[in-house]
């Protein structure tokens, strides 16, 4: 492939965050929705620094060899990325300070520059709750240990003067206190660091506070675990997490910092200027999520949309009966994730259930899924859980969950050496009168009841034997009882998933070459796999109509004559995080749709265990096809990628505006209401038997 036909993943990722940030700039959105988008961008940048930037720095240090199909050297990419990020960060803070903060201040939601009143409630707060928790660290080069500066936490840097002597101190913000305080539970939230910043002089009555600044650092999290440590992988993972705490600083973010203190920080942390970003508004904007708990916040957000109950789950029949009647497709968060949790809970309680097997990649704190699994294990059921300890930034939570499950008697498998298990599947084995029956749930998203309220994902619940038997074989492989199976209905990465998708695309290409109508719609988070990018170009050149709905990173360049003129790419950023992965093939009218846990990135297709599953029920295919078409038709929350590589926000045309997420919510709401009404028309009579 020619190098200029590939957009570098890091640069595309920055563009994705620019699109997310553009939501924060939208004046037509409620204030707290905009704040939420600022928080998302900051959270995204944190992970990006710790993993991708760290990785680029490693590549530069290891010889700066070209590894990106765009043909750019790691150093070129790093420079371009840092420059773009610097611009976005400046805009972000300008947006916050000039546009959003005045509104927050006026509405008494947030106050980052509080006036000193008398009596000053902040001073009391500082004295009573904050000061006892402070641990100043000396910056004397002879004793300074930069490992004491924790990543992703805010610190205060002070320069104190006593006579002719000056000394610098670093004080970490206590992490066991809330980031935002409402003194006496009234008025606006005040950031903890503001209170500390304004009162820190009280801690050093004998010295003069000459200068002060706020800063945080991001450390290298691109550390790999020793995959050979089979004998105690849990321990090996814990060691990685421990090492991550004092890994190399990658980025410095500072606020209210004088040039002198900045120089001091750079020296202490050994960071070049290029990787030091000024956050003029406020540090760690990702903590804005906490502001959403302010009583006023609810009014300043889009109206809450409660997940609907699927029409097929309205009655009180046990899940075993419902699923034997039909396969059920759930579209989260429009439809509730609770039935999935209830299925696991029912399995835990049901005496006929013999075994539960599932994968866990990311789950919530106090996850009801883990609780149900614990109950099942305690009830003596055979519970096998594959906990992916390597799920980045969820490692600690997963280690805790794994330990609890092990103690309860579950068989916990700590992933697969060399691969991350990203597939999402749950298999319940139940011994019924007619023999063993399997109940299978496969999903495009995680078993996380919290994110299931925000992420768009599909859940398929089925008892079809052709799918459940293959799922059983999939679990046999994951639990070490079998080699990877040859699957016919499902496909598994890194073994057959990619080749199957390629062969389905090739079939579409052949049809187009024979003059038939051919169409592919792909919806996933990212596409960066060079071979898949190439397949998109091949498809376009053969005349296949290619429609891609890519939320995040996209390495494909659409609309280039002779290369990709049949490709249209959009990205939807809305109140819900587009997360489902769906592949549609026209197949000469015999349409096929597959759902998957996999994005089209080399890591998903080659270094992760992923699942691809077909939608075999025509009704489900019809439903998902329409959803794919609706999301492609969005002109309120969508950006379109142009051949220049720029993403342009789509605007409603003459036909009017169309917000796919709003439309889908209404669709599911109406469907649920209609089903309830229909149900109410049937009277369930209770009478004495004759």
């Amino acid at each position: 492939m020619e190098t200029h036909n590939f957009i570098n993943r890091e640069l595309s990722w920055i563009e994705f965050n620019r699109r997310v940030f553009s939501e924060a700039q939208r004046e037509d959105l409620p204030l707290m929705e905009r704040i939420k988008f600022l928080a998302i961008v900051h959270s995204n940048f944190d992970e990006f620094y710790m993993v991708r930037i760290a990785n680029l720095i490693h590549e530069v240090e290891w010889g700066n060899q070209i590894s990106c199909p765009s043909g750019k050297k790691p150093s070129e990419i790093l420079d371009a990325v840092l420059e773009k990020m610097s611009k976005i960060i400046k805009k972000q803070h300008r947006c916050f300070l000039e546009d959003l903060y005045p509104k927050l201040k006026e509405l008494e939601i947030l106050d980052i520059f509080p006036q000193k009143n008398n009596p000053n409630p902040c001073e009391i707060l500082y004295k009573e709750e904050i000061e006892p928790l402070l641990t100043p660290l000396s910056c004397d080069p002879k004793i300074f240990d930069r490992n004491l500066i924790k990543g992703q936490e805010i610190h205060l840097l002070l320069r104190l003067k006593s006579g002719q002597k000056t000394r610098d101190l670093v004080i970490p913000l206590p992490t066991n206190l809330p980031r935002f305080f409402r003194p006496q539970d009234q008025g606006a939230f005040l950031p903890l660091e503001t209170i500390l910043f304004n009162h820190i002089a009280l801690l050093f009555p004998q010295e003069e506070l000459q200068d002060k600044a706020l800063f945080r650092i991001l450390r290298d999290a691109d550390l790999t675990v020793d995959e050979q440590r089979d004998e105690n992988f849990l321990k090996a993972m814990e060691e990685v997490l421990e090492n991550r705490k004092d890994s190399r600083p990658m980025i410095l973010e500072y606020s209210q910092c004088s040039p002198e203190l900045l120089t001091q920080l750079q020296q202490l942390l050994n960071l070049p200027k290029q990787r030091c970003f000024e956050h003029s508004g406020i540090l760690q904007m990702k903590d804005f999520f906490h502001l959403l708990s302010h009583p006023l916040s609810l009014e300043l957000m889009l109206p809450e949309q409660k997940p609907q109950t699927s029409p097929y789950l309205l009655d009180n029949k046990p899940p075993w009966k419902k699923l034997l009647e039909r396969d059920i497709l759930l579209h989260h968060p429009y439809e509730s994730f609770i039935p999935v949790v209830q299925l696991i809970q029912a399995a835990a309680e049901d005496p006929r259930v013999m075994a539960i097997k599932m994968t866990l990649y990311r789950t919530s704190t106090d996850s009801p899924v883990i609780l149900a699994l614990l109950e099942a294990a305690k009830a003596g059921k055979q519970v096998t859980v594959l906990v992916e300890l390597k799920a980045r930034f969820d490692e600690n939570r997963n280690i805790r969950g794994a330990k609890k499950l092990t103690r309860a008697g579950a068989l916990v498998i700590f992933g697969v050496a060399g691969l991350k298990v990203h597939a999402k599947a749950l298999l319940i084995l139940r011994k019924e009168k007619e023999g063993f029956k399997r109940y299978l749930h496969m999903s495009t998203g995680n078993y996380n009841d919290i994110t299931a309220k925000i992420y768009t994902d599909f859940s398929l619940l089925t008892t079809r034997e052709d799918l459940t038997l293959e799922a059983a074989q999939f679990f046999n492989a994951l639990t070490g009882h079998s080699d990877p199976p040859e699957l016919h209905k499902l496909a598994m990465a890194p073994f057959s998933l990619k080749s199957q998708v390629i062969s389905l695309l090739e079939r579409e290409i052949s049809r187009a070459q024979e003059g038939e109508e051919a169409r592919f719609i792909g919806k996933f988070n990212s596409i960066t796999d060079p071979e898949m990018v190439e397949m998109m170009y091949k498809a376009s050149q053969a005349g296949v109509k290619v429609e891609l709905n890519i939320r995040g990173i996209c390495s494909v360049i659409p609309g280039v004559e002779g290369l990709s003129e049949n490709i249209r790419i959009i990205s939807v950023i809305g109140r819900y995080l587009e997360h489902s992965r769906c592949y549609y093939f026209l197949n000469g009218g015999q349409e096929e749709i597959y759902l998957s846990s996999a994005d089209w990135m080399p890591r998903n297709l080659e270094r992760r265990v992923e699942l691809l599953f077909p939608l075999l029920d025509p009704e489900h295919r019809e439903q998902v096809k329409h959803i794919l078409e609706y999301t492609m038709a969005d002109n309120c929350q969508a950006h379109q990628l142009k051949k220049s590589g720029r993403w342009i926000r789509l605007k409603p045309g003459k036909a009017g505006s169309f917000n796919s997420q709003e439309y889908l919510y209404e669709y599911y709401q109406n469907r649920s209401i209609e089903a309830r009404q229909e149900k109410q028309e049937t009277l369930k009579i209770r009478k004495t038997p004759l």
Binding site: F436, D483, E486, F495
Partner: protein, 508 residues
């Protein structure tokens, strides 16, 4: 509901299948409840050194233990541990058997070629009896390409006539090749082709393959490619034209093993075996007039499950016709007098039925009697002198579909004793059998000696009814025929009958 787990130790993998059987008055059915497969280097060890290495033995034991753990959930009533044909070739197979018994408590049942053929036939019974496949009106070849051997069975108008084992297999042939992941398929094909042709030319010289109209092609490698060759029929098989098969093979030839793995989503092990398997299939196509290939989704192992759900009578009847058909085919191959053989078979059965009824014995082995009766003179192909001994040798060294090794050995012994000397303690081959088997041999041989005597002239002119009178077994000739020749023959050959049944034979 019944549950059975079968662990199969194959040349390249150890496999577990857990089956659920529904067997009620109204329905008999089974389904695979679980399946697991783990790689083993056994085949490679055996083909390279003749032995199963220590490491491979431990690997196999580990897999068996893991499977036993996996199938605990189903609490199967039976756990069968089967050893494939390849194990039989290992010099140290007994060591492996002992180790497995000690570590897992399971005893391996090593399946012989014929037993596997029977299972294969059972597994295919649905397809073979389906009118859509019109196998009853055509001659078909069932070819099962395994890791170490290729099993071939010939069905003439739906009847099994012969079966043979070819020393061709996906590992055996892969190992002979210069292994290189960069080797293109067609280059491999040229190398494999020579060996395959050499084996098949010899095979083709023994059997007439030009009458074969259909090939039923089995084997894991072929099956893994079947979805790319055609659509699956409701019967659970893929029907493919020879042309499509050969075109597909041509396409495969463009790729090396790694590319095949990627393109068809195969495991590396499978991808390395698909080309040898496909070439074996193509070479057989070349020797026959086949226009259609059937690739079933079942394997020989499925026969075990069919066996489980079928009534013993059904199985017996299913095989009886095939055994007799196979015996006739073998007999014809050695130019037997078919009229005489048919007469001896019919009359031996008449005598055996009568004597069993009179003696209130269970008529346990009529199919062995019929088979031996058909083949009793087969040794005459070599020489009429001592033809009973030649016959024994030929039966011992031929394939008789539907009979296991023990049954075939009984038939060979009956052929051996259909004339001349009776069994004695000095006959080592005979004495190797346990007492019960020796009794069966004597009973059947005694009946055939009498029936054979009654057609001494090979003109089938004696028809009779039977009676007993005290210690006499009386054969009443029907019509006015000169039976002096038969009488004199009986004098020499009825001795065994008189000894074993305690009745003097009289021909009236």
């Amino acid at each position: 509901m019944r549950y059975v787990a079968v662990i199969e130790i194959g040349a390249t993998a150890v496999r577990l299948s857990v089956m659920e059987f529904k067997s009620s008055e109204s329905s008999r059915d089974w389904k695979i409840l679980d399946h697991a497969e783990s790689h083993s280097s056994m085949g490679q060890d055996i083909f390279e050194t003749g032995k199963i290495s220590r490491a491979t033995q431990e690997e196999i034991i580990h897999h068996i233990k893991s499977f036993l753990d996996l199938c605990k959930t189903y609490a199967p009533e039976d756990i069968l541990l089967l050893g494939s044909f390849a194990i039989g070739e290992a010099q140290n197979r007994e060591l492996l058997q002992d180790r497995i018994l000690m570590e897992t408590g399971l005893e391996i049942r090593i399946l012989g070629g014929m037993e596997t053929n029977q299972l294969r036939y059972l597994a295919l019974s649905k397809i073979l009896n389906s009118p859509e496949m019109s196998l009853k009106e055509n001659n078909s070849l069932i070819v099962d390409i395994g890791s170490s051997s290729t099993e071939v069975m010939y069905l003439e108008n739906g009847n099994m006539t012969w079966a043979d084992t070819l020393q061709l297999g996906v590992i055996r042939d892969r190992e002979n090749l210069a292994q290189s992941p960069d080797h293109l398929g067609e280059e491999l094909g040229q190398q494999i082709g020579l060996k395959i042709r050499r084996v098949l030319m010899q095979f083709a010289s023994e059997y007439n393959l030009k009458d074969v109209h259909q090939i039923i092609l089995m084997g894991r490698e072929i099956l893994s490619l079947a979805p790319f060759l055609g659509e699956k029929s409701p019967l659970g098989c893929y029907c493919i034209t020879s042309k499509d098969y050969l075109d597909f093979l041509k396409e495969l030839g463009k790729y090396n093993a790694l590319e095949l793995k990627k393109k068809y989503g195969l495991s590396y092990r499978r991808s390395a075996g698909v080309l040898p398997a496909m070439y074996i299939g193509a070479s057989l196509l070349d020797l026959t007039s086949t226009r259609q290939l059937i690739i079933p989704t079942s394997s020989a192992l499925d026969g075990i499950f069919v066996h489980y759900i079928s009534s013993p009578r059904k199985i017996k009847n299913l095989f009886k016709a095939q055994i007799i058909s196979s015996a006739w085919s073998l007999g014809r191959h050695y130019h037997i007098d078919e009229n005489h053989a048919s007469y001896v078979k019919e009359k031996a059965l008449q005598i055996y039925q009568y004597i069993c009824e009179k003696k209130k014995m269970e008529m346990g082995n009529p199919v062995l009697l019929e088979t031996a009766a058909i083949l009793h003179d087969m040794g005459g192909y070599i020489s009429s002198r001592a033809h009973h001994k030649h016959g024994q040798y030929l039966v011992d060294n031929s394939t008789l579909f539907g009979l296991n090794a023990r049954q075939k050995a009984i038939v060979a012994q009956v052929v051996r004793y259909h004339r001349k000397a009776k069994p004695t303690l000095s006959h080592r081959a005979y004495m190797d059998f346990p007492r019960e088997t020796r009794v069966i041999i004597q009973q059947l041989a005694a009946v055939i000696r009498v029936a054979d005597s009654l057609d001494r002239s090979h003109t089938q002119r004696i028809h009779f009814s039977l009676s007993t009178d005290g210690s006499r077994f009386i054969i009443h000739c029907q019509g006015n025929v000169d039976n002096n020749l038969e009488k004199s023959s009986l004098k020499m050959k009825a001795d065994l009958f008189e000894e074993i049944y305690g009745l003097k034979v009289i021909l009236n």
